[in-house]
């Protein structure tokens, strides 16, 4: 076969077309006709698709269930100094990137609209421009300046959050990530709990921040309570630190943010910010050993003579396992299974009977107890207040 190159009409000088007479390209007519057709079709396709998309969007908006806004872990509703600093920095970054978007998008939209080939085009090649050093210089230097501003603003915030000194009165907590739950130890206060972290409220007049040391017992995890601070990973053999100083009492939701295995999704995290009095009272309660009555002695016997004690601790008894959450004050917590279920007698019983029905892949084994033993055990556990 023969290589045939479509032959072109003579062209204008590079850098500016002049008014030479030019021959139409041989396929020009057909192209024009076709492009008008496809444009009409394109319009129809786009119209149908946009309608469909809008319909679906409206339908899904109607179906959405309402959410309690305080339960939404929104990073743009900060309630603690580190989250606040990040929020202010992010507003600056959003302003800068938003401005860049507006400029570049306008250029793109304008170019496509202004320079698209018209139906009545004369089929001449446009002016052949190879570049411009001045323009290149401009769009190199301006971004460099923006980058410098971004870097300096960011470095400042990094220092202010990461290198903040720990004040003398700060609460110290050691958070230990486990597959798939959180262990919280307050070494100075002698308190151990799980999944639900209690900290006192802090305010500028009476600063009471909480400094956390982050450890892991097994795989990587990440401590993330969006309204209080950015996330910091819990890595075995690699202690990390973070801090929070919540400004308003209440419940703050978070969860593990580093994939840690099968039940990563249900490694939920709750931070209760208490008033100073509430916090003090909570600490006093948590420090007490467990009390149990004779009425539940049967359940206690079952607990202490089965594998429960290999993993769980109850202060003041023989149970001192550390693979699972400390149960000394189990009933002081609102949830079980790291937030997977609310802490009711019914859920507790179901959880012991079959952890997999709440959290498939959870490391707690089904205890295979008889109904009688299960009832007795549950009755004992609900006395651990």
């Amino acid at each position: 076969m023969v290589i045939e190159l479509p032959c072109h009409a003579p062209e204008g000088r590079k850098g500016g077309a002049d008014g030479d007479s030019r021959l139409p390209r041989n396929i020009g007519q057909r192209e024009m006709h076709r492009s008008a057709q496809t444009r009409a079709l394109l319009g129809r396709v786009a119209g149908v698709a946009v309608l469909l998309a809008a319909g679906l969007l409206a339908a899904s908006l109607c179906l959405a269930s309402p959410s309690d806004p305080t339960q939404i872990p929104n990073i743009f509703k900060p309630q603690s100094t580190p989250a606040h600093s990040i929020f202010h920095l992010s507003m600056l970054i959003l302003a800068i990137t938003g401005a860049i978007f507006a400029v570049v998008f306008s250029l793109l939209a304008y170019s496509v609209a202004k320079f698209r080939k018209r139906a009545n085009d004369d089929d001449r090649e446009p002016a052949q421009v190879y570049g411009s050093n001045q323009i290149e210089l401009a769009w190199t230097v301006i971004p460099i300046l923006i980058v410098l501003v971004l870097f300096l603003a960011t470095a400042r915030v990094i220092r202010s959050i990461q290198d903040a000194p720990q004040p003398p009165g700060a609460i110290e907590v050691t958070a230990i990530g486990h597959q798939f739950w959180w262990e919280f130890r307050y070494p100075a206060l002698g308190v151990v709990t799980a999944n639900e972290l209690h900290v006192p409220v802090s305010n500028p007049a009476n600063s009471k921040p909480t400094f956390l040391t982050l450890l892991s017992a097994d795989t990587d995890h990440s401590f993330w309570v969006p309204r209080l601070a950015g996330k910091t990973d819990l890595i075995p053999n690699h202690p990390n630190h973070t801090w929070i100083d919540p400004q308003e009492a209440g419940l703050y939701i978070g969860q593990c943010a580093q994939y840690c295995g099968t039940q990563h999704a249900k490694m939920l995290l709750r931070v209760y910010v208490d008033s100073p009095e509430q916090f003090k009272q909570w600490v006093e309660e948590q420090k007490k050993p467990a009390v149990s009555t004779d009425a539940v002695a049967e359940g206690r016997r079952i607990f202490e003579t089965t594998a429960c004690v290999n993993c769980h601790a109850v202060a003041g008894t023989v149970a001192n396992g550390r693979f699972g959450p400390d149960l000394t004050h189990l009933m002081s917590r609102d949830t079980i299974a790291s937030g997977a279920a609310s802490n009711s007698e019914e859920n507790l019983r179901a959880w012991i009977q079959s952890p997999d029905s709440f959290k498939p892949g959870s490391l707690m084994p089904a205890m295979q107890l008889t109904d009688h033993d299960l009832d007795a055990l549950t009755a004992y556990l609900v006395t651990l207040r």
Binding site: L63, I75, I93, T140, T219
Partner: protein, 557 residues
């Protein structure tokens, strides 16, 4: 380039029996056949990993869904990520590179044709190993089949204590095998581009696609090597009692992260630079102007190549580096935005003052420009460490990198498909179906990935198989899932178009786009030997010179 037209003998339809023709494809060392093999192989995995994505999206459509178990979800997530990166995007880009580079530099094949075949078959073997895990991964009863450690496979989740059975081993070996293939391809790209250019084609006169793939070749060699080394170390940990990453015995989980991301971030550029290459070829032809600022484009690409090796730890802002370490990686990360921005401006400069033909390849390139702009800007947000502490590990990141990979790379890839399909198949694709593909896909893309940013801002972590109701995440997940089906429909139209046009498409001719680079001077599809006579070039646009003898490029370059 030689100015006479050259008569070549016409090759009739292949009349040999199908077995013989298939055998031809298996033993081939021809760069065009290997390129097409890479592409078909990658398209197969696009569909497979796309189905895995759809399974995940169905699971997440409502909170507390029970469509799949957490174990299956985690496998889908791991397989989707691993497949899309290593067995879809990388091979498809190598495929286009392998097919196009010799044609665009006027060579008859790659520098090392046998290495070329070896590289492809190693990559293919890697994909096979990964998917064999569904059958062979169950080394221990109940241990699970396919890998479920996430595509980063962070230590110590990959230790035998946490990943019993063989699923992680299949993951490791698959990446080891395909890594060898990738390094082979990288070496071959470099050798071909440096040694096989036709007379007159100095480095400064190469098409940008060749330049960009030269940079990719260099990056592949330097970044796949640490990944391959880390896979071997992981094997030693798992089977020979090593403790590199075994935290129970004093090993370091952070070490794996460094190994992984010193591979992982340049990898992003290994994927995106070939996409830049497609855009740099397609935008000029459909704007009817030469690329704006060719030398700056080359310099920016080389700068990206180098800087990309100094940004890896921006994936590790949350692992507790010092404030100085964090600041350093913030600086390098925002700095890489400069050469990337320059490229976007130069493409806009190319379109400016042109006559833009909105054919399907150009539509996809415009989509690329729009989405890559947004992806770059969310990248800046993620690159500033404090903002990253909130956004990393959340659905915002998932939205961001899908914006890069789907909105950027895959859009450019589809552009490349439609642009070079006539060359590869000898037939034109169907323009109407192409536009349906474009609109379905872009609407699906934006439904999915625009709205995916929001749950991330509302605190939804990635890699969770289900989520709690009442956190304001439901609506966004629903929309995201709906978008996924639009994208799937777009892909279906695309595949139908490819198959239909192969038989029914109009004959394309040598040069359907009135383009300027050498591949359009030979027949479609090109003969085995590519060029009957080695072309001689004098400028970056040899076919322009030929078509405009009174006003050739070489007078101005």
């Amino acid at each position: 380039m030689s100015s006479e037209t050259i008569a070549l003998s016409t090759v009739g339809p292949d009349a040999r029996p199908i077995g013989e023709r298939l055998h031809d494809w298996i033993v081939t060392v021809d760069h065009k056949k290997l390129g097409i093999l890479y592409i078909l192989y990658a398209l197969f995995f696009l569909v497979v990993a796309g189905i895995e994505a759809i399974i995940m999206r169905i699971q997440l459509i409502v909170p507390h869904n029970h469509f799949v178990s957490p174990q299956i979800f985690n496998r889908m997530m791991t397989m989707h990520g691993t497949t899309m990166i290593f067995f879809m995007v990388m091979p498809i880009l190598f495929g286009f590179g392998t097919y196009l580079i010799p044609l665009m530099i006027g060579a008859r094949d790659m520098a090392f044709p046998r290495l070329n075949a070896f590289s492809f078959w190693m990559t293919a073997f890697g994909g096979l190993l990964l998917y064999f895990s569904f059958i062979g991964g169950n080394g221990l009863y109940g241990a699970g089949t396919a890998p479920d450690v996430g595509w980063w496979a962070y230590a110590p989740l990959t230790a035998r204590a946490f990943s019993p059975g063989h699923s992680t081993d299949f993951w490791t070996l698959a990446l080891l095998a395909s890594g060898v293939g990738s390094i082979g391809a990288g070496v071959n790209f470099i050798a071909t581009i440096l040694c096989m250019r036709c007379p007159g084609m100095t480095l400064g006169k190469m098409p940008l696609l060749a330049w960009l793939n030269l940079v990719v070749g260099g990056m592949v060699i330097f970044c796949i090597s640490p990944l391959t080394a880390a896979q071997i170390m992981l094997c030693i940990d798992r089977y020979l009692g090593g403790h590199f990453f075994d935290t129970q015995a004093g090993g370091s989980a952070v070490l794996w992260m460094h190994f992984f991301w010193i591979f992982g971030h340049p990898e992003v550029y290994i994927l995106v630079v070939p996409a830049f290459a497609f855009v740099s070829e397609i935008v000029p032809v459909f704007s009817r102007k030469p690329i704006f600022g060719y030398p700056i484009m080359v310099a920016a690409t080389i700068a990206i190549g180098f800087i990309s090796f100094s940004v890896w730890a921006h994936h590790m802002f949350t692992v507790g580096m010092s404030s100085y370490g964090n600041s350093f990686f913030v600086f390098t990360t925002v700095a890489i935005a400069v050469p990337t921005g320059i490229k976007i401006f130069n493409w806009l400069g190319t379109m400016w003052g042109g006559k833009i033909q909105l054919r399907v390849p150009m539509l996809f390139c415009i989509g690329f420009l729009f989405q890559f702009l947004i992806a770059g800007l969310t990248g800046i947000m993620l690159g500033t460490a404090p903002f990253n502490w909130q956004l990393s590990g959340s659905y915002f990141v998932v939205a961001h990198f899908h914006y890069v990979i789907v909105g950027g790379i895959v859009f450019a890839l589809f552009g490349a498909f439609y642009y070079w399909y006539p060359k590869m198949s000898g037939r034109m694709y169907n323009e109407t179906l192409g536009k349906w593909h474009f609109w379905l896909f872009i609407i699906g893309f934006h439904l999915t990935f625009d709205f995916m940013h929001i749950p991330g801002i509302l605190g939804m972590p990635r890699r969770i198989y289900t989520y709690e109701p009442g956190r304001g995440w439901e609506i966004w997940n629903l929309i995201v899932t709906i978008g996924a089906f639009f994208q799937a429909a777009g892909i279906l139209v695309f595949v139908v178009n490819l198959l239909w046009s192969l038989r029914k498409g109009e004959p394309a001719g040598n040069d359907p786009w009135d383009a300027w680079t050498l591949e359009w001077s030979t027949s479609s599809p090109p003969p085995d030997y590519d060029f009957a006579v080695t072309p001689v070039v004098r400028s970056r646009r040899p076919l322009w010179d030929l078509k405009h003898p009174e006003d050739p490029d070489w007078k101005y370059e």
